[in-house]
Subunit: 322 residues, 2 copies
């Protein structure tokens, strides 16, 4: 059995409000077919692939946004993608807004094998942004209004290796990669919609590309896994989204990267056996990790400055620097 | 009270076996005085500053290596450093091999305030390398023979902020920065001795500088803290050590970096209030972390590939890919 997986990271250009699901699925099919021509085993689409990034608008009633969500997968509009994947023998990863039969809403991604069967589903754990309408912002980032958080990171046996998924903001948290790495993950698939403008601290705007690379690359290296970061990119409904779709090796090196902010397929062959170069040496977890020292990571949510430190800084026990 | 700390990252060139403690302390004093002239509040020396990196040699009896360890701090040979620090009003951070009165050996660092008092001590948690003599290597990396592991990461109120320490290999583990960050750390001091040659996988040799930057910068960004990485560098007893001593901002950007592999002071002013740009926005831990999902990080040491994943890959429950 080969341990080489040819991956197509299928960056999507902007999706406007006027674009129909059928329009979008046509673009996905074109990228899937390009992937097949390039010999891909797997084509990776971004977060919330099927619509514009709708958490940028407030609605008084969530039901007004129901049309942005999928109630079945595949559904009538997405079934052509599954059929074509099976016909071509190319698997895919797809992010979309999920509305369950009992009314729960998630920011979800699925992993589909080369025979068109869904082999894994992931619901976003780290929801960024805010819960309430904040009219002072140039645009909203209401993921915490539109979605409930998922409950964990799993891995799946697929494409000859151990495959995990995460979504967008998850990639900024080292815990994401570590939980996947602790399940032997060799390939992490991560779609994102990342506005260049970050309203709470616009000083970070110029750093969006740097930060994207930094977290994807360190997550790959520190866990000895391939990481595929896939953007929805470009100028969407007045908002500029980061591109820089990348395929990153277990060394942390960028193996291939997009050079546009439109629909663009970035292809690389990933040798999953390269993971062992790191997992079995410097990052031999069994030998070198010290979980008995890591208690704060699971034992507390926010920062806790010890009282003796506050005292040394002349700060009261409650308050002061954090 | 100002929240600006002027930091001198005091890279050390090589220390050979023939160099006496007095020779080394003279070099440290010169760097400390340069720091004072540059207006530094704090001068940061590297890991195991006082001797050559002795874990590169095997000895049959640890007692043969006793002369590499400090049994008191300050001791007769290091007291001039404390006296000069007090006289100049410049604090320092110093790594050294520690031998306790009851015979325990640690890879240790201390933090000394501007009045010459020791305000914090740290013992290395993540010990890399090996326990036994491995003659096939060009040189040994016997930290797991020469040292016992430390039991945690603390923070200290010093220099007007919350200061933490880590040592060398600790910097490759995201848990290190996170445990400091969960205590409100604003400034992490990390000395290192990093051979360019990594015997278990020489393919990593060319990446030593890249990996050093990647882990220091991602640790800084993901926790919104200043990170100071300080090398013992250059050609030491036939072994090439990485330089690239750096002062890194909470944005993850390199604020200043060494350009030699000798004794070199890298100076930057660190505004501790910049930490809040990240700690109170994107990385507001209280709001965004999901510790209820992080159980594997403290619950297991090594990787555990789920049985259903092994089954999907045709691997037996015990063995197969990891």
């Amino acid at each position: 059995m080969t341990r080489n997986v040819t991956i197509g990271a299928a960056q999507m250009g902007p999706i406007q409000l006027v674009d129909s699901r059928a329009d979008v699925v046509e673009r996905l099919l074109a990228l899937l077919r390009s992937g097949a021509e390039a010999g891909c085993d797997l084509v990776v689409f971004p977060e919330l692939t099927l619509t514009t990034f709708f958490p940028r608008w407030w609605v008084d009633d969530l039901a007004e946004a129901d049309h942005f969500y999928e109630t079945e997968m595949p559904g009538p509009e997405t079934r052509p993608l599954f059929d074509e994947a099976r016909r071509l023998g190319v698997g895919f990863h797809l992010g979309y807004a999920e509305l369950t039969p009992d009314g729960h809403r998630y920011n979800t991604a699925i992993l589909v094998e080369r025979d068109g069967t869904v082999v894994g589903r992931y619901r976003k754990v780290h929801l960024p942004g805010h819960e309430d309408h904040e009219p002072w912002r140039a645009f909203q980032h209401l993921e915490r209004y539109y979605f409930e958080p998922g409950d964990g990171f799993d891995v799946h046996g697929a494409f000859g290796g151990v495959v995990g998924m995460a979504i967008c903001n998850d990639r900024r948290w080292p815990e994401t990669y570590r939980i996947l790495g602790l399940q032997g993950c060799e390939l992490a698939l991560i779609g994102y919609n990342t506005p260049i403008h970050y309203a709470p601290d616009p000083g970070q705007d110029r750093l969006q590309g740097f930060h994207n690379g930094l977290v994807l690359q360190s997550g790959a290296y520190q866990n000895g896994m391939w990481v595929v970061g896939v953007a929805k990119a470009g100028h969407e409904e007045g908002c500029d989204l980061l591109g820089e779709t990348s395929i990153i090796a277990p060394s942390g090196e960028v193996r291939a990267m997009a050079t546009t902010v439109g629909d663009e397929l970035v292809v690389a062959e990933a040798d999953l056996d390269l993971c062992a170069d790191f997992k079995e040496t410097l990052f031999d977890f069994d030998r070198y990790r010290r979980p008995e020292v890591y208690g704060r990571i699971t034992g507390q949510r926010g920062p806790e400055v010890p009282d003796h430190v506050r005292a040394a800084l002349g700060a009261p026990p409650e308050g002061g620097p954090r």
